[in-house]
Symmetry: C2
Subunit: 476 residues, 2 copies
């Protein structure tokens, strides 16, 4: 049960209602509970939920919050996995779900201007109608918002070719803690006037400013696409192939599933594929790669040819090219089914989003397998092999004290190994509250001090998403 | 004549000699004069030139500079156009020319680790031997350093497809003003732990920290390349083609020359081309586009076919595809000859590096032509049309007071127009001292205050490249 939502100061409430309109401030217990959750599965009811319509209203809310020393937690769709959108100290959830306007799609300059509440997939569909493409594709893109993507520095499978959200943000309208509205960046690919406030705000998880409008770079939509699946005899071979493939061509996505992950969804693959693999490589495949080539028809044909030529010399690899769009969708559906299917193994999951240099994936997976053997817990890995971004999943029964302890030990061992391999503890999920302890393990003390001073500079009253990233004083 | 170099405090000198070695501190007047210049053509002799060997020595120099309240001006090769490497207040030039080690080229992960003094073209050649490619290509790449490129956020023609220096910096070792050494960023494409100090330092022109080591992302080297030249009947057509081409394909470079720039180098183009153009379009061409396609052979062939098909329907455009590498080089040599050839027109040049959304290039060029007609000065434009990054060149005789005044008026009018067109006043040359006045025209007051506070946070004693970007108190 959540703790009782703290009451909101009645003068603050009246002032908020005046700023955004009475209907745009929610304080009923059931409304507060609706905004108590995010993708982390934790629950912290806010004192109120406020729905601003524009940057000016955001600014007015922040000024009031400063006056009343009330935390403000900006929130997109609440799909974040690390608790970044939770009202851990009560206060005001600043729900940006009314700011859903696609302000502009500029075909000639391949730029879009959007409000933060636009759903990522809706932007992608809108620009597609202009033959343009917005590549960042977090798994939750059908629900998550661009504002949330920017705030968390979201990634996705397409990063291996196209980069992450950060690489598409040209400029921002942002509201500072004191209510000042700033315009950062440019509408062009180049621009070096002054310090790069744009990228400083990207990934700052609402702790430095609230994003009111976003200028995004777009690219021409690729005309053709080919999805392919590779089944490999062993994992080392699969991860070796990742580096080898990336030296020859640049697929739009390059995903991998380890043995356990593959086992969870093998029944969803095209009929006969696993059997063919058993015949040709003499065993069940130990890993799967899912790869997508895109571009002009010539480009895709050329890359497909190159890939097939290269794989001819590789023993123990089964290549299956999707025959059509439906089969490609089937392959992706299998990939996406890994996460939900994991609960066949245990009722609960600890999932971490780590990154290692891609040539070190085998080392990380070896550690995961050792930990699985040592703890007796199912631990499996899958993810964006092309950029070394691996989702490590530790399955457990939280009601079993011993499993809970073993899982936490395994998690810490994974973190330690990731850092030894010169990786990072959060690739695309952010820090929020669930990784706040990890940040001190990764960031050196002088950088940490600098970052904390940046936070103080931007938000001296500590009203903007307090406790997030930095963890201090957050009940968890 | 330069003003007399201010003397260095003898205790500071002794301490510096102890830190880096006696031979690595230069104080003779002729040595100081050698480091008084940069690409801006201005001259400010430092009190001393110090050549550190590593980040620890940089840290020790900064601690001493703090103690003695002496400015420290980090310097790569001094090719910057805006005076960012000048000792405008005397002090110590921190010459990074001894730190030239390519620490690592990691083929599997497509990452290079380099010291700041590595020459950009030398890094490009070194990674090419591993079939890898470092795309950012400032015109001075044969002389300039990676450290300088990072400090200034340098660009180049390849930006239209590949992006700018900023897009390749994964992480930094940087030395703070107090001598603390920080390690920012990651070795991987993804990473969202803490605030993005890496990109905050990129483009900060040595005012926030000194860069000691750089981790760079690389890409696979393209196997094929095709250079093409387009001659157009009029400029509007040429700039219209830029947007149209970029909606169909992504060339590696897409440069343009206006009528005057083309006239300066027409004699360097392949024989008969201008004549062919006169025949087919009935006049001298009014603009030239230089375009390069790269990628796999199939990709280049496919893009070439697409481009030719598209151009078939365009009246008044001459397409010439370079027959071989030598002819491609000839076309690029003509493009590069524009800047030096400009002095046929007048003895002096004011060159500005502005950016407008590429669909607005015709508007900016129209303004330039009106200003040329109004002032009687030759004003021409050329540059990276693909990303709207235009070099505006005002030719004048500085000894002629009237021309000097007219040129300054024209320059201010160009700035005003760029901002009206929602562009930026520096695309890839930085701010330094020569654009310090322009920054207040472009950046909003709240952002400016924030940036100045960032400077104070990073460098409370104002010893790191003081006056640069912010201009205060710089003799110009």
């Amino acid at each position: 049960m959540p703790s009782q939502p703290p009451a909101i100061d009645s003068r603050l409430l009246a002032a908020l209602q005046q700023v955004v309109g009475k209907k745009q401030v929610a304080t009923a217990p059931e409304e507060r509970l609706s905004y108590a959750y995010d993708g982390s599965g934790r629950e912290y009811p806010p004192a109120a939920v406020v729905f601003p319509a524009n940057s000016d209203q955001i600014a007015a809310v922040l000024r009031l919050a400063g006056k009343y020393r009330t935390p403000v937690i900006p929130r997109g769709a609440g799909t974040g996995m690390c608790g970044g959108a939770l009202a851990t100290r009560g206060g005001i959830i600043l729900a940006l779900s009314r700011m859903t306007k696609i302000v502009e799609i500029d075909e000639d300059n391949q730029v879009a201007v959007v409000q933060p509440g636009v759903i990522t997939a809706e932007l992608q569909a809108a620009v597609r109608r202009h033959d343009l493409y917005y590549p960042p594709d977090p798994a939750s893109r059908a629900f998550c918002t661009i504002g949330g993507n920017v705030a968390c520095g979201a990634g996705g499978p397409a990063a291996v070719k196209y980069g992450v959200t950060r690489d598409y943000v040209l400029g921002l309208t942002a509201v500072l803690a004191n209510g000042d509205i700033i315009h950062t960046g440019v509408r062009t690919a180049k621009g070096v006037v002054g310090y790069d406030l744009t990228r400083l705000l990207v990934g700052s998880e609402g702790t430095l400013a609230v994003i009111g409008e976003i200028t995004l770079r777009l690219v021409p939509a690729p005309a053709a696409k080919q999805t392919m699946l590779l089944l490999c005899r062993d994992l080392l071979q699969a991860t070796g192939l990742v580096s080898a493939i990336l030296r020859r061509l640049t697929p739009a996505t390059l995903e991998y599933l380890d043995r356990t992950a593959l086992g969870l969804v093998a029944d969803r693959l095209p009929t006969g594929l696993i059997e063919r693999s058993q015949e040709q490589i003499g065993q069940n495949p130990a890993a799967m790669l899912l790869l997508e080539l895109d571009g002009s028809p010539e480009e895709v044909a050329g890359q497909t040819r190159q890939l097939k030529e290269f794989l001819q010399d590789q023993q123990g690899v089964i290549l299956h090219a999707a025959a059509d769009h439906e089969e490609a969708e089937q392959l992706w559906a299998a990939r996406r089914a890994v996460s939900p299917a994991a609960f066949k193994l245990r009722p609960h999951k600890i999932s971490d989003d780590v990154v290692v240099p891609r040539s070190r994936i085998p080392d990380l997976v070896a550690t995961a397998e050792q930990l699985a053997a040592g703890t007796g817990l199912p631990i499996f890995t899958f993810g964006h092999a092309g950029d070394g971004n691996i989702h490590v999943n530790i399955m457990l029964d939280r009601d079993n004290e011993q499993e809970r302890r073993a899982a936490e030990t395994a998690r810490q061992a994974i973190y330690k190994r990731v850092l030894e391999l010169r990786g990072t503890l959060s690739g695309e999920h952010g820090v929020g509250i669930s990784k706040a302890a990890a940040i001190t393990a990764e960031v050196d003390p002088a950088s940490l001090e600098l970052m904390k001073n940046l936070k103080k500079l931007f938000d001296p009253g500590n009203i903007l998403n307090p406790g997030k990233i930095w963890g201090e004083g957050v009940r968890s």
